[in-house]
Amino acid sequence: MISPSIQLLADYTDTFWFPTSASSFSDEVDSTYMMVMWMCVLFLVPITFCLFYFAIRYVKANGIPAESQTSHNTPLEIAWSVLPCFLLVAMFARGSIGYIDQRRAPEGSDQVGVKAFKWGWTMDYGNGVFHPELHLVVDRPTKLTMRSSDVIHSLFVPAFRAKRDIVPGRYNEMWFKPSLASEKVSDEELANAIKDTKEKFAGVFDPERYQFTSDGYKYFDLYCTEYCGKNHSEMQSLVVVHETQDELNAWIKKYSGRQEGESPAEYGALLYNRRGCASCHSIDGSKRVGPSFQALYGSEHGIVGQGPIKVDENYVRESILEPKAKIVEGYSPVMPSYKGQLSDDDIDSLIAYLKSLSPSVAAPASEPVANP
């Protein structure tokens, strides 16, 4: 495994100012940035020089009158008011042209649906495939149609230099064309990381630790940049850019449901991490935004306005699909609904996973579960 300090250096091999340039916008944005920067230097250097030079050159003892009492010079003042305007117009024009490019998605772009919620992302690849990571194909323009189920979020991919707020109650759109495909690490490295994760970190794969995704891709960061509450800083995801459409299709297929030979509880554990449950529900009994999943199944809960209730299959199912129907005492009604985003098999798997976390419930693996 690479030591953290080398990873740190690896990140800094991009330029001093910018992260890796990975979309069709990023070179234009970077060069506009540098243009503005040089214009600023053009002003800052002479201003700073005059400021400090005059401040030292014209120091006089108390009472010595100033060499000059010139009160104004109208032509000079008009000149320095008007001349900078030409630079301003240049900056404005270039920025606006770049902006219009970013607003207008080309015809025939690929489409990905994005749902932002406190505090996670669900990308909709169609045909019932949802995943928190954003997967794209290099050199294919992709349009994101984004909505939020609670408060305002904002999707930001620094490597693409693209950002757009996601406002509840409306669809906001953005598009970009990735120009750099993600590298894939060797199978051996991936296997080591997965083994390491299983042994030391209870199977919770943290891409930040290895700098690649659980599928072994290097990735670009995706951040939420509109403050959205408690775990705003953890509302991050990953962007992976595939070389070919076939590669993306293969990846999508892998996540289209429970794989052959995978038990519901195992798949439930994957869903728990993949679909954002983990950001609010712990599995070690600690209190987060929502009740912990540890020994939850089969226990009794006080429901606001309804008295105690036993956690069973129907309750769990309802809590996933209609989270605001029954609110556990001591918690706020903040969970978004997963209606239409989880298949029946997904929900069954999650229930099986919950059962596996409750030792008191003898969880026979013989429950009838429909295969996907």
């Binding site: 100012w17 010139t70 920025g95 606006s96």
Partner: protein, 572 residues
């Protein structure tokens, strides 16, 4: 030999000194003296600044480590929210207009008080009530919305949003009353000879600020009331769950809060215009351009609020129009910087503490202003919006600008306010430490932002750690510098030399009364000419004071002429 008239008012006697002419707590609580109200404001806002500053240091300490050093996420969110809300509503907005402005406006006008002294005291108590609301919010369930109270987060969080917004609502009225008071005072109470273009530039800046306060603040009041109504009655204007639109809130909010940025920075421009001219002992360069640019900024400032919302989903056309308008605001700001530099040129500069702060201001504000250009350029803004680049930019403007100007002004008028001289050496060292600490704190944040670090993050990716640590160490240095500035001023109260009436060589009216001024300021309205005419100024080494020597003015013939015409009562 021509007889001359030396203006040197000497020292105030205890019975006339506004600090001592009456005593007891009640004489302060119920005072109508604008100078005492100014001092009470000063104590209030400096306490708020100390609280906000401590929170800022806590934030920087927390961010020393990628996973956070001090707080859990919820606490961090409350800390940065309170830092922002306290600094904006309780410190920066009232800092220069209410504290220094209250003291200075009537004295600079040669008037005995503001136009409405009781309204003035009312403003102060409204500020106190607003501050109490904030404290209650803090002691209640805190506040975690960010100082902007964006909906629908603010309508759904279970923290004390209503208490805090009521506080901001009340503070808004404090601000409106102060603005109204100054507008009437400046319009009606100028002394003989002071035409609009013979006013000190600080008064022009205060006047422009007051116009914004009176016109923009009511919109904030309305917005916050609607927010409270939305939270309590679900009227469905901002919250999409009840058919509202969150972007409407942003329009309402920034329609006030962008002009409010100019409420914060315009008075700072006014202070710097005074400081640069006085400590260069040279006529301010381009008086009319500076005065007009203040008014231009005040008016243009109403048209650019949309640049806070470039990513939020306005139409492309609206966005581009707001970008164009945004660039126009940069012109008057640039004019001021050029004029200040031209004033320094061939001046007779004294590198006093206030002057050092003024020079820091010009450098820091120039960076703050220039980095605003990056954000006005639309394509670049899409990358930089809501990252640390924004954080660095507005701290360069608000803190490197307004706070440094406020400190410069405080050092400049401290002898006038308290009658004590502070330690020059201590003051200059504090300025140097603040300058270095400030740049070390916020320069790395520009790079953090352009590398993609989002703002308001309680934890961050490890690749940003080095820059964050630089920023934190800079912040601690900055804290030491500010603490030192405060100690230098406090120490002067105990062992400072007695201040003469005009220690810096200013020629505006406040330097023509004693330090501290008598409670009545001037016994009769003084006659004034050009506020930046330094020809008659000379240094008196024996009293360590500048004196203004004017040719003797004969008000009327003292003796009867030998012959008088009949209509004047003489004999034919």
């Amino acid at each position: 030999m021509a007889t001359t008239n030396v203006l040197n008012p000497g020292f105030a006697s205890d019975s006339e000194n506004y600090l001592k002419n009456t005593s007891g707590v009640l004489s302060w609580i119920f005072t109508l003296d604008h100078k005492r109200i100014g001092i009470m404001y000063l104590i209030g806002i400096l306490s708020a600044f100390a609280a906000g500053g401590a929170l800022a240091l806590a934030i920087r300490a927390h961010l020393l480590e990628p996973d956070g050093m001090l707080f859990d996420n919820d606490t961090y969110n409350q800390v940065f929210t309170l830092h922002g809300a306290i600094m904006v509503f309780l410190f920066i907005i009232p800092s220069i207009p209410a504290a220094l402005g209250n003291f200075l406006v009537p004295v600079m006008l040669g008037a005995k008080d503001v136009a409405f002294p009781r309204l003035n005291l009312c403003s102060f108590y409204l500020w106190v009530v607003g501050a109490i609301f904030f404290i209650c919010a803090l002691l209640g369930s805190g506040l975690d919305t960010g100082w902007t109270f964006y909906t629908p987060y603010s309508t759904t969080t279970d923290t004390s949003v209503i208490l805090a917004t009521l506080g901001a609502f009340v503070l808004g009225f404090s601000s409106i009353f102060t603005g109204l008071n100054f507008i009437v005072t400046i319009n009606t109470m100028r002394p003989p000879g002071m035409t609009w273009f013979k006013m000190p530039l600080f008064l022009w800046a205060t006047y422009s600020t007051s116009i914004i306060q009176v016109l923009a603040t009511p919109v904030l009041g309305i917005t916050l009331l609607l927010l409270i109504a939305e939270r309590t009655m679900k009227i469905g204007i901002f919250d999409p769950e009840y058919n509202g639109d969150p972007v409407t809130y942003q329009h309402f909010f920034w329609f006030y809060s962008h002009p409010a940025v100019y409420i914060m920075i315009l008075p700072a421009f006014g202070i710097i215009s005074e400081l640069i001219a006085v400590h260069s002992h040279k006529h301010i360069f381009g008086y009319r351009f500076i005065a007009y640019s203040s008014v231009a900024i005040a008016l243009l400032g109403f048209l650019v609020w949309g640049h806070h919302m470039f990513t939020s989903g306005m139409s492309a056309l609206t966005t581009i129009v707001f970008s164009a308008l945004t660039f126009t605001v940069s012109v008057p700001s640039a004019i001021k910087v050029f004029n200040w530099l031209a004033t320094l040129y061939k001046g007779s500069i004294s590198l006093t503490t206030p002057m050092c702060y003024a020079i820091s201001f010009i450098f820091l504000f120039t960076i703050g202003g220039l980095t605003g250009l990056f954000l006005g350029v639309l394509s670049v803004d899409l990358h930089l919006h809501d990252t640390y680049f924004i954080v660095a930019h507005f701290h360069y403007v608000m803190m490197g600008g307004t706070l440094i100007a406020f400190l410069g002004g405080l050092f400049h008028w401290w002898p006038k306010m308290t009658g004590k001289m502070f330690s020059e050496l201590g003051g200059r060292i504090s300025c140097l430490i603040v300058f270095i600490g400030f740049n070390m704190t916020f320069l790395p944040q520009f790079v953090l932002g352009s590398r993609g670090m989002p703002r308001r993050y309680a934890t961050y990716d490890p690749e940003f750690a080095t820059l964050h640590q630089w920023s934190s160490y800079g912040a601690f240095l900055l804290g030491i510098g500010l603490l030192m500035a405060g100690l230098v001023l406090l120490a002067s109260l105990y062992n400072g030399r007695k201040a003469p009436s005009n220690p810096w060589g200013g020629v505006t009216l406040e330097w023509q009364c004693t330090s501290p001024p008598p409670y009545y300021n001037f016994s009769r309205p003084p006659v004034v000419g050009d506020p930046y005419d330094f020809h008659d100024l000379s240094w008196d080494d024996s009293t360590q004071n500048y004196v203004i020597t004017t040719p003797e003015r004969k008000l009327a013939p003292q003796t009867l002429p030998k012959e008088m015409p009949a209509h004047a009562g003489g004999q034919e």
